[in-house]
């Protein structure tokens, strides 16, 4: 099925600026299309227009232009009719899953279409087979891994037998092997004749399946359109312009690297950990030293123990054997509140922590909990906001009124206010586009008052290559490799052993 978009323009209610302006595009049957662009560039709005949520669920805004499926106008179709043509897979599989068991999840769409039982069962099995989840049908949905959940969610959409698939950031929560596998599935579905439209921030990964069409949106308009080769060239041209910032970062690393590395900030000694509810250990004797000047990319497949290790560092989890030391002190003699002044941990999703009415209250939460004086807290807040580049936002504003990118910066700032020596960032680029993520990290590494060492937990290997001076690769609760980025990431043997090849 081809999708034709002509002069599409949409303005959300109570906004002056249109979210999409005069976008015209054609997606052909059997093609893969990649849509990129910064947060707020109109990608999600475009998807909502194609799948009919605009104007059917968002009736208040102003819409003009045409969308046709295989030449037929869509304006008279109901959402249920559209759902038979186009399947939408949302960014976070967890938000899409409605059933407790995988079988019921895949059956949900066909059930809503009121199909006969036999046909539903047949469709569930064939869609499950198509996405290789047929062995998971009896499993409870919340026990599946991220990659499995996503395959199940796609199968659930395929069971409605759509001719086109819209994928909103399908790679966001996947580790590199799962992401590669997912991309191969998308290409295969396109080969079977399904139109694939994919919005993705991880464009370098997405380019691996050579999308026939790449579109970049900026401020609601098309900024680039072409095939994969043309898009690569376009990206490379732009990277040269952006090169100054990484150079600044290299200077920073040279500076830190030049001082003799004697300053040990955080160390794990043969640390073991097992969750009380699990029979399998999460960490099997991890030893790792973090020195001043280290920018460590902690990588590995999902479930390798990366987050568990970081939770040991700040004392949320305590090792069942072995130990953690902060400088000279043993972490077991310290409370979490004491530890977090030495080691900061920024969680992946800012929504997990933001709670206050004003930015001032939000940012002073940490300093107050750790017993800082008001003057010290005020000073640290100003410095932290400058580091993350939000110094111009008044502190009496509500954190909930900010964009996702700004909230993510506030989350980082709210940990920086405690002035930790080591800063742990869990998936610092998740949900951020390339430029925004790079800018945040560059600032973190270059500003006055920045932490002395940074650990990034990430699936984004390009980020690791670009910013880290050390890459630590974990698998099944143990460290597989620890070395310079090129020595780990370019070593096929090591990457295979680490489950990332």
């Amino acid at each position: 099925m081809s999708i034709d978009i002509t002069d599409l323009r949409y303005t959300y209610p109570n906004r002056d600026v249109p979210a999409l302006r005069d976008v015209s595009l054609t997606f052909r049957a059997g093609d893969v299309a990649l849509i990129a662009g910064k947060s707020g560039s109109g990608k999600t709005t475009l998807i909502r227009c194609i799948n009919g949520l605009i104007p059917r669920s968002y009736q208040q805004g102003t819409l003009s232009g045409q969308i046709r499926y295989s030449g037929e106008s869509t304006s008279a179709l109901s959402l249920a009719q559209i759902a038979r043509h186009i399947g939408t897979v949302m960014q976070d599989p967890d938000k899409q899953i409605v059933a407790t068991r995988a079988f019921n999840e895949i059956a949900f769409g066909p059930e809503n279409l009121g199909l006969p039982r036999d046909e539903i069962v047949a469709r569930v099995h064939s869609a499950a087979k198509q996405m290789r989840v047929d062995h998971l049908l009896e499993r409870e949905t919340h026990t599946l891994s991220g990659g499995e959940q996503q395959r199940m969610v796609i199968a659930a959409v395929l069971a409605m037998q759509p001719q086109a698939l819209l994928l909103d950031e399908p790679l966001a929560s996947l580790d590199p092997p799962s992401a590669r596998e997912a991309l191969a599935h998308f290409r295969r579905l396109a080969d079977e004749g399904i139109t694939i439209v994919m919005v993705e921030h991880r464009v370098r990964d997405a380019l691996r399946i050579e999308p026939e069409q790449c579109v970049v949106l900026a401020d609601g308009a098309i900024a680039f359109q072409g095939d994969a080769a043309a898009y690569r060239t376009w990206l490379d041209d732009r990277r040269q312009i952006d090169n100054e910032r990484p150079i600044a970062n290299r200077q920073w690393m040279a500076l830190r690297g030049a001082t003799p590395i004697a300053n040990l900030l955080l160390s794990f000694h043969d640390a073991h950990f097992t969750y009380p509810s699990s029979p399998h250990p999460q960490l099997n004797g991890v030893s790792l030293n973090v020195h001043a000047g280290d920018v460590i990319a902690l990588i590995g497949p999902n479930g390798a123990g990366k987050s568990t290790l970081c939770k040991l560092a700040i004392g949320i989890n305590r090792p069942s054997a072995g130990g953690v030391r902060l400088g000279e002190r043993d972490a077991k003699d310290m409370t979490v509140a004491q530890i977090v002044r030495e080691v900061g941990y920024v969680f992946q999703n800012p929504a997990a922590m933001l709670f206050a009415n004003t930015l001032r209250d939000e940012l002073s939460f940490g300093p107050r909990n750790t017993g800082m004086s008001v003057a010290e807290s005020e000073r640290n807040i100003a410095q932290a906001m400058a580091i993350v580049g939000l110094e111009d936002i008044p502190l009496d504003r509500s954190p909930f009124g900010l964009s996702f990118g700004q909230q993510k910066r506030v989350a980082v700032a709210s940990v920086l206010t405690m002035q930790p020596k080591v800063l742990i960032l869990d998936e610092p680029t998740a949900g951020l586009d390339d430029g925004t993520a790079e800018d945040l990290l560059t600032r973190l590494l270059n500003s006055d008052g920045a932490p002395q060492a940074v650990i990034m937990v990430t699936h984004d290997l390009a980020l690791a290559r670009h910013f880290a001076n050390r890459v630590v690769l974990m698998r099944e609760g143990a460290i597989v490799a620890d070395g310079a980025p090129q020595d780990v990431l370019e070593n096929g043997d090591v990457m295979t052993r680490g489950g990332l090849a």
Binding site: L79, T88, A99, N112, T335, V336, A351, F355, F365, M418
Partner: protein
């Protein structure tokens, strides 16, 4: 034969009749009988003791508290009545809830005549309990990472008052997230044609002889207890 082998509708009807009977019954012998019966059902349900140990501790504390209050402000008879009611309610609820497969909750209500949307709401609730629990755990960790401690610092009136406020950093992110996510979830369901017409419920439920027997027993029990209450005044 286990409790699970009964049709979920029969179990829900039994549960409704039994709890009503417990509320209606006033005679101590009848209440004691109901409480013993509920405990027997719980044993028969074979719920692992480990899973309900924590709940029972809470129930025992609750009963002790209620009993003390009743002894102070009401008659000893009422105190014993309330204690027996609480035991019967707790035992039967644990037996029913811990053996109930959440995946059949929605269809059970649908087949009892409730509308599609209401029935599916129950399925969704069951589905999102683990998600909410996970969000809550992540938020606790994220706030601990900012030096947050939940423990009560001073055991005074002021301390107990502040403890309520201390939950704000945990409750707000979880609630805000749930509300914001609800829009995405509603969209996701609409895009899969939910609520657009009569839907098929894949799961089939069929009453068997034992289900009719259980339902008959449930109503007989309720009728008996009501009759007893009227007869005894």
């Amino acid at each position: 034969m286990t409790l699970q082998s009964f049709d979920p509708r029969a179990r829900l009807i039994f549960y409704a009749c039994f709890t009503t009977a417990v509320l209606v019954a006033a005679d101590l012998r009848a209440l004691a009988g109901l409480a013993l019966f509920a405990i027997a059902v719980l044993i028969f349900a074979r719920v692992a003791w480990e899973r309900i140990k924590g709940v029972w501790v809470g129930v025992v504390v609750f009963i002790a508290l209620i009993t003390i209050i009743n002894l102070l402000f009401r008659t000893p008879l009422e105190a014993v009545q309330q204690a027996l009611r609480a035991v019967a309610m707790a035992a039967i609820s644990l037996a029913i809830i811990y053996t109930f497969d959440p995946a059949v909750l929605g269809v059970a209500f649908r087949r009892m005549g409730f509308p599609d949307k209401f029935a599916f709401l129950l399925d969704l609730t069951a589905r999102f309990v683990p998600t909410l629990a996970r969000d809550f755990r992540v938020t606790i960790d994220a706030q601990k990472a900012r030096g947050y401690e939940l423990e009560l610092r001073e055991r005074s009136l002021k301390g107990y008052l502040t403890v309520g406020r201390r939950f704000v950093p945990l409750i707000v992110p979880v609630v805000v997230r749930a509300v914001l996510d609800a829009e995405d979830r509603a969209n996701a369901m609409e895009l899969r044609a939910f609520g657009t017409g009569p839907r098929t419920w894949l799961q089939e439920l069929r009453f068997q002889g034992r289900d009719y027997a259980l339902i008959a027993f449930s109503f007989a029990l309720l009728a008996g207890i009501i009759a007893l209450r009227i007869w005894m005044g």
